[in-house]
């Protein structure tokens, strides 16, 4: 369980929240605090008050894979192989083991043909896949994705959805503006003006939003 207690950071005030294992999607308007919330859960930022514990430990004591919204800002190196291998190299993995892990994750994500390419020559979708590979290569316990799908087409999003389901991560936290993606979650969190306004399964939360544009169009169509 991810246990959040009396969380405060700037104008974000979440109070108490428990997130079970599985996929949790955070939704809300621009500026509602989604990115800030995810950064706190990733340990990138530290709360002004309150605590976040992931199975009893703070985020900085956990292995976390992170992808932010902007493909260009997810890259440290100029070539794909170095980018994907970087978390393993930073952890002093034996070079042969690192190479094997890089090949394995590239095969799993279907990006073997990109390994020898330069990051600059990749499309936006390919960059997201490389960032995902770098986030998953060291088999993290938790994967956190900040609007990773905002620059992806439907086909690419479906492909990524399958990869996320097969990732083996105990917790996947993500935020999205695509409600058709949000319906495929185990848990939903909605923020507004830095406050938690709804939490629960999609079946619990979305009926409360029927009068808003956040209600999935596919549900209106009975799909």
């Amino acid at each position: 369980m991810i246990e959040i207690r009396n969380l405060r950071y700037g104008s974000l005030q979440v109070g108490n929240l428990d997130l079970p294992r599985g996929i949790t999607t955070v939704i809300g308007r621009n500026g509602s605090g989604k990115t800030t919330f995810l950064r706190l859960c990733a340990g990138i930022a530290l709360p002004d008050a309150g605590t976040i514990l992931i199975d009893g430990k703070s985020p900085r004591q956990r292995e976390i894979g992170w992808i932010n919204e902007f493909p260009d800002r997810n890259m440290l190196f100029s070539n794909v192989r170095d980018e994907i291998a970087s978390p393993l190299r930073f952890r002093y993995f034996a070079p042969d083991d690192a190479d094997r892990s890089v090949q394995r994750i590239a095969d799993r994500l279907g990006i073997q043909n990109l390994l020898s390419r330069q990051i600059q020559s990749l499309s936006g979708g390919e960059k997201v896949l490389v960032a995902l590979a770098a986030a998953l290569v060291f088999e993290p316990e938790i994967l956190i994705l900040d609007e990773y799908d905002s620059h992806l087409d439907e086909k690419r999003c479906s492909h990524l959805e399958r990869i996320l389901l097969e990732s083996g991560c105990d917790y996947i936290l993500r935020c999205t503006q695509q409600m058709e993606t949000a319906v495929k979650s185990d848990n939903l969190v909605m923020l507004e003006d830095g406050r938690l306004i709804h939490t629960g399964t999609p079946r619990d939360v979305f009926p409360l939003l029927t009068a808003t544009l956040f209600y999935p169009l596919s549900w209106r169509a009975g799909l």
């Binding site: 308007r29 902007f70 260009d72 499309s123 979708g125 905002s150 503006q177 544009l213 799909l223």
Partner: protein, 223 residues
């Protein structure tokens, strides 16, 4: 017109007349390249692009921070030839005039710039993924405002699946070739890259009259 780069090629042959055009395609298909070429910002390898009797033209970049040339939001408005009061009243944008553009989230920056573009009166307006960083409500607002553009040529390059404006013509880029699917509503049935929700509606015989949220909702509710 043809463009060929290391891992990518695009062939485009067509005429964009007055009205609102949608150019769809997967990530990496060449939408941005086509937009830049039409604007004259990049060179192409063969063919011609002519803009007959086209006056002012504008391209909205996919990533809004690429537009920043001023130190404050009011300076930005001035650089676009738009009054601050117009932006504030028409878009629901809630920033401060002396605020730095860098202090806004990407979604807020995207909202701001789309408002700047839509308050101008360009003969040719190219919008490269204008919905990328926007929340549902902002996307709907942008679509509604776009639908009111009755003069000039508007070309929207996007892979957005839910919130789209009413358009006159649909194009798509498939396997590196720009294909004209024709005028709406006939083009909707010929659109191979249509969002899955629209494809489901077509399968059920509920063809929407256009591709806006309201038109899809109307088709969904049809018995």
């Amino acid at each position: 017109m043809t463009v060929a780069r290391d891992h990518f090629s695009l062939i485009a042959d067509g005429t964009f007349s007055e009205g609102i055009h949608l150019v769809s395609g997967d990530v990496g298909s060449g939408k941005s390249t086509l937009a830049f070429a039409i604007m004259g910002l990049i060179s192409w390898d063969s063919g011609t692009i002519s803009r007959d009797s086209i006056g002012p033209a504008m391209l909205s970049f996919q990533f809004p921070e690429y537009h920043i040339t001023g130190m404050t939001l009011e300076e930005e408005c001035t650089s676009w030839g738009v009054a601050w009061e117009e932006i504030f009243s028409s878009s629901g944008f809630h920033g401060q005039r002396d605020q730095s553009p860098f202090s806004l989230s990407r979604g807020e920056l995207a909202q701001f710039y789309v408002s700047c573009f839509l308050n101008r009166h360009d003969d040719l307006l190219l919008l490269d993924e204008p919905f990328g960083s926007l929340d549902c409500e902002s996307k709907k607002k942008v679509c509604d405002r776009l639908s009111y553009r009755t003069t000039g040529i508007t070309i929207i390059f996007t892979h957005e699946r839910t919130f789209l404006p009413k358009v006159d013509r649909i194009w798509e880029i498939t396997d590196g070739i720009l294909i004209d699917r024709g005028t709406v509503p006939d083009a909707i049935t010929r659109w191979s890259g249509a969002p899955s929700l629209i494809k489901n509606l077509i399968r059920e015989g509920k063809i929407p009259s256009n591709i806006s949220y309201a038109d899809i909702l109307e088709a969904v509710c049809r018995t």
